[in-house]
């Protein structure tokens, strides 16, 4: 493995940056700050966000985002574009791209089962995020694509999602049902029919009919979907792509982050940077226990309260450092940036610039 780049160097050099981590750790803000920094470096950057709470829109002071990139004006040499992922329209476009003709596209788009997929099939949202990433990556208008990832129930769903969707579309059960009825296939078909009849007793016949109609309409497109999924996966593993792991210093989110790091490593995609948000500031290097003891002897006085407060924050800092040490080991030589608990919520460009100062501190030091 080549020697690690600093976060600033990653932002300057990579073509794709994926921000991943569990929910509520500031992934969206981090993605926006990374994109802003790239624009500051003169790059044409687009950031894709997924979160339905429109947090990026908050962070950028935008009223709302659409499925298409919209440009954010500001005082930077590059360009900053942002968009909110619309899984449905992304999927529609993908169907239109792979369909043999307009009639097939229409048949699929009108199918109730298809309409449910973007909502209900686990992994579809993740796949569409990666699909959008691929699409923007292919677009020569951008030098860098930054993606925020959905707050998934199961970490790294987006790595498996493209293949999972093609597996789903090639589901054996339904393939058998829509296949020509002859010989052995026919025998299998009878067994499958019996099975489906049982299923429809539980969920109702309409549901099965919708599903069958969908798989029939989808015939012939699986190949195209599979190839596309492979390309998306290649992009994720490409050297021009960097995964940034975002976490907060709480034990539970760090466990989750550790799990992410391990899974990425297994997939041959080492984490290239770790961003830890909401780190408590550290005040001095005294042992919290000593400060606490001092507070106890002064209990009831103002000075006692001042020491008690200092002990509270020294305790937090010590525990957080302890929890972070394990994760730091898991990411090897990749850079780690600590973003302190800021005194204001980040909801505008100046707020993002303050986060950027913490994220890219290394770079600032070397360039000033």
């Amino acid at each position: 493995m080549s020697s690690s780049l600093s976060l600033g160097q990653l932002v300057a050099a990579r073509r794709t940056i994926v921000c991943c981590g569990s929910g509520g750790v500031g992934k969206t803000t981090t993605a926006a700050v990374v994109a802003l920094q790239a624009a500051q470096l003169g790059r044409r950057t687009v950031v894709v966000t997924i979160d339905p709470a429109k947090r990026l829109a908050d962070a950028l002071g935008l009223a709302g985002l659409t499925g298409e990139p919209s440009r954010i004006d500001g005082d930077w040499p590059g360009e900053l574009w942002a968009l909110m992922l619309d899984p449905k329209s992304t999927f529609d476009a993908l169907v239109a791209k792979h369909a043999t003709d307009a009639a097939q596209t229409e048949r699929i788009l009108a199918n109730r089962f298809y309409r449910n997929i973007s909502e209900a099939l686990s992994g579809t949202q993740e796949y569409m995020a990666m699909e959008k990433l691929y699409e923007l990556h292919e677009d020569s208008d951008y030098d860098l694509v930054v993606v925020d990832t959905p707050p998934t129930r199961h970490a790294l769903d987006f790595l498996d999602a493209p293949r999972r969707l093609s597996r789903f579309l090639e589901h054996r059960l339904f393939r058998v049902l829509v296949a020509p009825r002859s010989g052995l296939v026919k025998a299998v078909n009878v067994a499958a029919q019996t099975f489906l009849r049982s299923v429809s007793r539980v969920v109702g016949g309409d549901v099965i009919d919708d599903a069958l109609a969908f798989f029939q309409a989808f015939e012939g497109m699986e190949e195209g979907f599979r190839e596309r999924a492979d390309k998306v996966n290649e992009l994720l593993a490409a050297p021009e792509t960097a995964f940034l792991l975002v976490a907060s210093p709480r034990r539970d989110t760090l466990h989750e982050a550790q799990y992410f790091a391990d899974r990425l490593q297994e997939a041959g995609i080492p984490v290239q940077g770790l961003v830890v948000n909401r780190v408590h500031p550290s005040f001095g290097d005294a042992l919290p226990e000593a400060t606490r003891a001092r507070a106890a002897t002064l209990d009831g006085s103002d000075l006692g309260s001042l020491y008690a407060n200092l002990a509270d924050f020294q305790t937090m800092a010590a525990r957080e450092r302890e929890h972070l040490a394990g994760l730091a080991a898991a990411i090897g030589s990749a850079p780690m940036a600590l973003v302190p608990f800021l005194s204001d919520d980040v909801h505008d460009i100046p707020g993002m610039a303050e986060v950027a100062r913490h994220l890219f501190a290394q770079q600032e030091v070397s360039s000033s």
Binding site: S22, I117, R153, H171, D210, A211, D312, H347
Partner: protein
């Protein structure tokens, strides 16, 4: 109001909130609080890999119940138990109970459940909620606390029953959806406790979720839990040098500025928190239960007890039944 009365107002409490707000911590504290006033409590967790058992110093959860905190009858304390429910396991159990065990294994193993779940969105949520309903009905505990999924919206999860009634018009799943909807709409059986942090985005989301849950699902919203408030510490506004003089002691070099900057940090964050708590009260007319920030990076049994105590004190201070 009387905490026992509060916890028996409905047998099911659904704890909902976005990721990172401390939903699981609040579930643990609510369960322990109920147990401390003598109500046996079962926490149901639906996501796997939850931090819940660690908060009670216990190993990971499975489909079978475990005891998180033992009962102490002499002190009038009941047990807190917990279990996980997954859609696949809930489906298998459901099919077995409905005489369909023959197809059940194949339905799960073949991946057909994914196909069915796509055809009828919400079916996995219904299987989970259906199982929760069964636990609520069975009387296995005085109180069932459901730690709702963090990913996605609580609204989608709780709306699944209504959505499914349109998609599946007959059969056992339809019946199940109807039963779940009855449970959610029955204020005597179920209430939803929202959890949020005293920060801008979490407050916005809590307000949105609160209104959506009332309008679209028709659930009874209980008090909202505001988690992570810095406890008040009187006297930290004082100048360290003067405070030292008043206490008749001296500060080491550099200590005055450390004490001052730490105090300043807390005061600024406290002011921001107060602002958000006030905004929440203004925009979402629900009684608030406030939990202190725990100055530890991990929640263990001691912290859960502190939080449970805070909840009990806040509940006692509530004047009216949240309806």
């Amino acid at each position: 109001m009387d905490p026992a009365g509060f916890f028996t107002a409905s047998r099911l409490v659904i704890v909902a909130g976005k990721g990172g707000v401390g939903k699981t911590t609040v579930s643990a504290a609510l369960a322990r609080a109920a147990a401390l006033v003598g109500l046996s409590t079962l926490v149901v967790e639906v996501e796997g890999r939850s931090g819940l058992p660690a908060m009670f110093g216990q190993p990971d959860l499975g489909y079978d119940e475990i005891v998180l905190a033992a009962a102490d009858p002499s002190a009038g304390v009941a047990a807190v138990r917990a279990r996980t429910i997954t859609p696949d396991e809930a489906l298998l159990e459901y099919l077995r109970e409905h005489g369909l065990s023959r197809i059940s294994k194949r339905l799960v193993a073949s991946g057909a459940l994914d196909v069915v779940a796509t055809a009828a969105p919400g079916i996995k949520d219904i299987l989970l909620l259906g199982k929760v309903k069964q636990l609520e009905r069975s009387g296995t505990a005085d109180l069932v606390v459901l730690d709702a999924p963090a990913a996605g919206h609580a609204v989608t999860f709780l709306q699944s029953a209504r959505g499914l009634l349109d998609a599946v018009r007959v059969g056992p799943i339809n019946t199940q959806a109807r039963d779940v909807l009855d449970l959610l709409e029955d204020h005597a059986r179920c209430q939803v406790v929202l959890v949020t942090l005293p920060e801008e985005t979490p407050v916005n989301e809590a307000v949105d979720t609160g209104f959506l849950l009332e309008d679209r699902v028709g659930v009874n919203l209980g008090p909202i839990v505001v988690n992570g408030l810095y406890p008040e510490l009187a006297g930290i506004g004082a100048d360290p040098a003067k405070a030292a003089a008043a206490a008749g002691t001296a500060l080491r070099s550099g200590e005055a500025s450390l004490l001052a900057s730490a105090a300043d940090f807390r005061r600024r964050r406290t002011a921001l928190q107060d602002e958000q708590v006030a905004r929440l009260a203004e925009q979402l007319p629900l009684p608030q239960l406030r939990l202190p920030f725990m100055f530890t990076a991990a929640i263990g049994p001691d912290e859960v007890d502190v939080l449970a105590g805070e909840l009990l004190a806040d509940i006692e201070a509530l004047t009216e039944l949240p309806t």
